[in-house]
């Protein structure tokens, strides 16, 4: 099992409430995935690139990190640290050097992008949400995941969402059976993953297709042909999110749409607190069919 939630807001005035709405959805999915939880939130763009990093020893790891990074990339750096995570904002163009420096320092890279921030840890979803103050976060859209691990260890790096390119991330309910083969195929192309996890390979596959010129829709279509196994995928991009289920479609999925939002969840329970849900259009996404919403 695993739980997935996603929320795409159609109205700007709801943006300050995104974190609050997503947190309720995430916590409702606790019994589908009690061992870890994570969220990718697409918030305000600052003109720079946001790099989210994690450390088990944040007090020492994050002290003077902005100044050290500033010296390396020779540009302005801001830092926002929350619990085990920190978001460093660097000027566009310097992110590659910044990420290499941060990885060298032993920090774990959660993701990077103009608007995306990723927060994920092991523990119950309610504890993870409280640790990062997810309720207080605003944004245009976000996706979240509650994990019941099958394919790799219960660690921060094994938690979802997985990000393998700027502003792109993936959450997954299911298991991939050809992920080792696909990992080797991608490595030959110079696309590398950071964990042993099957979902990260799925994320890297989608990122690699997009980097080769495919649209999000085409990349998601490609998962149906090139990835073997069970999956309900929700993928986030800077402008929206996409959904695809494998042709067998035994992993559950339900969607809801109103004039205010499009919501995705593994189960209807996650929608119960959304405003106007009683009048929403609620449906189950078809197998082997790509859906996406972009602004």
């Amino acid at each position: 099992m695993c739980g997935i939630v996603g929320l795409f807001l159609k109205k700007d005035e709801l943006r300050p409430k995104l974190g609050d709405m997503l947190t309720d959805m995430l916590i409702t999915m606790t019994d589908r995935g009690p061992d870890s939880a994570g969220i990718a939130i697409y918030g305000d763009e600052t003109g720079g690139i946001k790099i989210t990093v994690q450390s088990d020893t944040p007090e020492t790891a994050f002290a003077d990190l902005d100044a050290d990074l500033c010296a390396v990339i020779d540009g302005p750096v801001t830092i926002k640290s929350i619990s085990t995570h920190a978001v460093l904002t660097v000027p566009a163009g310097s992110e590659k050097a910044a990420i290499a420096f941060l990885e060298d320092k032993g920090l774990r890279i959660m993701g990077s992008g103009e608007s995306m921030e990723i927060y994920k840890e092991i523990g119950l979803p309610k504890d993870v949400a409280a640790r990062f103050n997810l309720r207080e976060m605003g944004g245009s859209h976000g996706i979240g995941h509650t994990r019941m691990a099958t394919e790799s260890a219960v660690t921060t790096m094994g938690a979802h969402p997985f990000s393998t390119a700027d502003d792109q991330c993936l959450v997954h309910n299911g298991s991939l059976s050809n992920h080792n083969q696909m990992r080797r195929v991608l490595a030959k192309k110079g696309v590398f993953t950071r964990s042993e996890n099957d979902t990260e390979v799925g994320a890297a596959y989608i990122s690699s297709r997009i980097a080769d010129g495919a649209t999000l829709g085409e990349a998601l279509e490609g998962t149906l042909k090139d990835l073997d196994g069970f999956f309900t995928f929700v993928t986030g991009t800077k402008n929206g999110f996409g959904v695809v289920r494998d042709p067998i479609a035994c992993k559950p999925a339900v969607m809801a749409e109103t004039d205010d939002y499009v919501a995705f969840a593994s189960e209807y329970r996650a929608f119960a607190d959304l405003p106007g849900i009683d009048a929403a259009r609620v449906w189950e996404p078809e197998p082997a069919t790509v859906y996406f919403w972009e602004r």
């Binding site: 479609a249 559950p252 189960e267 209807y268 329970r269 009683d278 609620v282 189950e284 197998p287």
Partner: protein, 228 residues
């Protein structure tokens, strides 16, 4: 007298205990459940005459193992609704998720919206009427009973079918192994007419096609020995 139970005030287990006791009491009581919020296993295991209306959408396994009771969901139902139903009536006003009515032995499952994949999988005597469409692999290994679909059916309808009857008004994306279209004889029109009436479905029996088992998988075929 109608009793109302509010799921924001009462725990699911208490609600199910109350309903199960009321069903056993054979008193034909009426219950309304408010604020179901997609909860799992609602109104399951009812063993006696009882009328339950759920005011909203339900999660996994609603009205499972139902016997004699009438359960109405005024929203959509999650996976496995009316699984292994023995008798009674379960009505879903919205859509039903995968494997609706799986392994059902009897009674009527009436789905006013669409049902997704594996509807009526391994059904054993239940009647299922779906007013909308059904998904892929529906009626897989279905043994007995009737599956009536007013809309369209997805891929591999009736794969490895035994003796259940399948009636589809719309298109069938593909038939599963050993499932074939069959002649609609007067007795089938009669069965269908009765089922459509019971389900309150606005359709004429003559508009449907019947599908059933070709019965080629019942016995080992020596000509296929090389295929294993």
């Amino acid at each position: 007298m109608t009793n109302t139970l509010d799921m924001t005030q009462t725990e699911l287990r208490d609600i199910n205990s109350t309903l199960q006791a009321a069903a056993k009491a054979q008193a034909n009581a009426e219950y309304i459940i408010t604020n179901p919020r997609g909860s799992h296993a609602m109104a399951c295991g009812l063993d006696g005459p009882l009328d339950v209306t759920i005011q909203g959408s339900t999660g996994y396994y609603c009205a499972g193992m139902n016997k004699e009771a009438t359960v109405t969901v005024k929203g959509s139902a999650g996976p496995g609704v009316a699984e292994n139903m023995m008798s009674g009536t379960v009505t879903i006003e919205g859509d039903a998720s995968q494997y609706a009515g799986a392994t059902g032995h009897g009674g009527l499952l009436n789905i006013k919206g669409n049902a997704s994949s594996r509807c009526g999988i391994s059904m054993k005597g239940i009647d299922i009427v779906v007013h909308g469409n059904i998904g892929h692999m529906s009626a897989f290994m279905a043994q007995k009973g009737n599956l009536v679909v007013l809309g369209n059916a997805g891929d591999a309808l009736g794969d490895s079918l035994y003796e259940a009857r399948l009636f589809v008004r719309g298109t069938v994306k593909s038939l599963g192994a050993d499932c074939i279209e069959k002649e609609m004889r007067p007795e089938h029109i009669e069965i269908l007419k009765e089922l459509l009436e019971k389900a309150g479905a606005d359709a004429k029996p003559e508009e449907f096609k019947r599908y059933g088992s070709a019965r080629k998988l019942y016995n080992f075929n020596i000509d296929h020995a090389d295929e294993y």
